[in-house]
């Protein structure tokens, strides 16, 4: 076994997340799929850091986590405000992006 296996695992997780973004309709579940893709990229960063023998990859993973946290806060608030006006969390219903 080599560290490449971790990269393959993260590729699989990333494509599962991508399929989820394309298939699911609930905006919150779509958002969770985006989180899964971010996590898969973090796994590659950690693995690359290990293969290179330097810590820069882990620092980048840390920054990805910070950005993900900020993104989740803003994104969930947008979903909440759309839900408040349109009474629906489905991405099919929010076709106006207005009011």
């Amino acid at each position: 076994m080599t560290p490449t296996y971790y990269l393959l695992l993260s590729a699989l997780l990333f494509s599962l997340g991508a399929v989820g973004v394309l298939v699911r309709r609930n905006a919150i579940v779509v958002f969770m799929c985006v989180e899964l893709m971010l996590n898969a990229v973090n796994l590659t960063l950690v693995t690359f850091s290990r293969m290179h023998g330097e810590l820069d990859g882990q620092v980048m993973g840390f920054f990805v986590m910070v950005v993900a946290a900020a993104e989740v806060v803003v994104g969930l608030t947008i979903i909440m405000s759309i839900f408040r006006t349109r009474r629906s969390a489905s991405v099919d219903d929010s076709n106006l992006l207005k009011y």
Binding site: T4, Y6, A11, G17, V19, V29, N39, L43, V59, I79
Partner: protein, 289 residues
Amino acid sequence: MSLLNLAQDFVVAAQPAAPVADTIGTGETIAFWILGPLSLAGALGMLFARNAVHSALWLVLTMLSLGVIYMVQQAPFLGFVQIIVYTGAIMMLFLFVLMLVGRDSSDSIVEVLRGQRLAAAVLGVGFAGLVVGSLAQAFTRVRSVGLASVNNSGGGNVANIGSELFTKYLFVFELTSALLITAAVGAMVLAYSDRHGKGEKKTQRELVEERFKGDRPGSLPGPGVFATANSVATPALLPDGSVAEESLSALIETTTKERLADDVAGVSGTGHQADAHALTGSASAKEGE
């Protein structure tokens, strides 16, 4: 801190001494073959769960196993941050919002675009095949260096990450603080609901003030209970015997006599009497036509 040291000890123990090349011990292999399928199962469960809350819980499973994978991969700090920040904070935020939006808001089965799911599945399988194939091809001869020497020098993994963060990546670190503040302010602006906007409910205080500024702070007089009938349609009489105009119901006064003929007949007993059919509603519905 002691937990982190424990994790580091575990990592070092799982990686027997190999200063130059990175060898993967049996412990790490076993951990990978347990945690990898677990995280894949979590991702698949999130994809296929109908209920959004179940999706969130499956994603928690994936994130937990990814956190442990980080620890096994000589990144104990990121592993703990993953568990604390992702599964502890972000996923709980997701669950909060799911509960606010309503647990019943499951996915619609209706396919808006014809064949979209099939196309997405084909795309996903193709993408996975391409990336997995190219990665496996590209990394067969790459030798992993391993982090054992880095993690064992200086103050260990956490201290080394800290020194990188505050020297080499200091400016980026400062930028993340600006990002976090922007996110917090943005969330407050977006989540603030303006009560005085159009279509919003008035507060109790506003209602009372509006009423006292109008021409009648009190309530309207009721119908005439001293008259011969106690019907709502009976007007109240003022002390001088005249009809109090304000006691007349606007709804009843504007209704024509013909529309009330059936009701009058029902009350006075001249129309159809209620029988067993009245309970089913079919007979009275036909009469009402």
